[in-house]
């Protein structure tokens, strides 16, 4: 298999693009896809300060690497969830990346330790409040990333969600007709109200395999081990199903998610309508001040329940 562009030996085949690339041309392809996502979805401008949410995994470290190499000003935040050896290893990977690649681009890594602020690790917190670990984890991460972005005056918060993440989430939402969640599936969510940071997903045009290949080819040392809490999760099942379809019929994931985005864009000017909806429904949390649809935000409710140890 030879590179489609320079005809030297290829290192990866991309059936959905009917292409294969050598390392140099693949890196150029990846950066081009990310640059296209940033421009097309008006994610941020060259002078903007970006906060990347990093986990020590391939997607977030690859995203940080790509943004720095594209010349953006990107710092990162790592949230230590307190999942025993898994968190210790992932933290080490994030710190190592920050000390090498990050430091060479004058980028810094902020850290938040759940055990210190929330008083227990994510597994214990989830048990205390009788909620699935992944759901409690999502609430804490969303809250802390948003809080850090606002507190440190970043213009935008970027996450490493890739095409597989978005297609799997869309499949889950469609299977259960959770139409109210579809608005939030845009790769660029505006800072609709005060207290909410703008959130973007610059990797949404790249498949999970492409992002992993970028990490391997560029010697990014990431945690390969799967989070022990994610075992048996629905997201993994949806991804598995989509990848079976993708192998048989290349381009399925892209057609599904990007087709959805096109239809959504035609149906309504998403950013404006979402901002309007948010402004009408959100108000400051009575405890912490972050925007919420209820009197108290889900993070503060969760922490209050964890303190009393009661399930509701």
């Amino acid at each position: 298999m030879n590179c489609k562009k320079c005809h030297t030996k290829a290192v990866i085949g991309l059936p959905r693009h009917n292409a294969a690339f050598c390392k140099v041309c693949f890196n150029a392809f990846v950066r081009e896809q990310v640059a296209r996502a940033i421009k097309g979805e008006r994610m941020f401008a060259p002078q903007d300060r970006i906060l990347v949410a990093v986990s020590g995994g391939k997607d977030s470290l690859a995203l940080w690497d790509i943004l720095l190499k594209l010349g953006y000003k990107a710092d990162a935040l790592y949230v230590d969830l307190g999942i025993g050896g898994y968190s210790a290893t992932s933290r080490k990977k994030a710190v190592q990346f920050a000390e090498t690649v990050g430091a060479s681009h004058q980028a810094t890594l902020l850290t938040h330790t759940v055990q210190e602020e929330e008083g227990a690790g994510i597994r214990e917190l989830a048990m205390l409040i009788h909620r699935p670990t992944c759901s409690a984890c999502g609430t804490i991460k969303r809250y802390q990333f948003n809080r850090a972005a606002i507190a440190h005056h970043y213009d935008v918060m970027a996450t490493g969600h890739n095409l597989d993440d978005e297609a799997a989430r869309l499949l889950g939402n469609v299977l259960h007709w959770q139409e109210e969640y579809l608005d939030k599936q845009s790769p660029s969510l505006p800072a609709s109200v005060e207290g909410f940071a703008k959130k973007v997903k610059p990797l949404y045009r790249l498949s999970e395999r492409e992002v992993a290949a970028y990490a391997v080819l560029n010697r990014i040392d990431y945690i390969v081990e799967e989070c022990p809490m994610a075992k048996g999760s629905k997201m993994l099942l949806y991804k598995e199903v989509l990848n079976r379809l993708e192998t048989e019929s290349p381009g399925t994931k892209q057609a599904f998610y990007c087709g959805f985005l096109e239809k959504q864009a035609k149906a309504q000017p998403a950013a404006a309508s979402m901002a309007e909806k948010d402004q009408a429904s959100l108000r400051p949390c009575s405890t912490c001040g972050q925007p919420t649809t209820a009197e108290t935000c889900s993070y503060c409710k969760m922490m209050a329940r964890a303190k009393t140890g009661s399930p509701r």
């Binding site: 298999m1 290192v11 391997v216 994610a230």
Partner: protein, 65 residues
């Protein structure tokens, strides 16, 4: 050849030579969810793996909730 697998981590012996594509099919692994790595380098699906090769088949899928 020696094949390193993950989730759970294990080492299996597979008779070569064999194309990467055939190796994945024999192990019932979906190409879109894996990368095949030989001596720190990615190998494409059409490539032949020799009997004395050592490869890692790395899953690329992650994610909770």
């Amino acid at each position: 050849m020696k094949v390193q697998l993950s989730h759970p981590e294990r080492l299996v012996e597979v008779k070569g030579p064999k194309r990467v594509k055939e190796l994945l099919r024999d192990l019932n692994l979906v190409a879109e969810a894996h990368l095949v790595i030989r001596r720190d380098e990615l190998v494409t699906e059409d490539e032949f793996l020799k009997d004395d090769d050592a490869v890692e088949i790395r899953p690329v899928i992650s994610g909770g909730s």
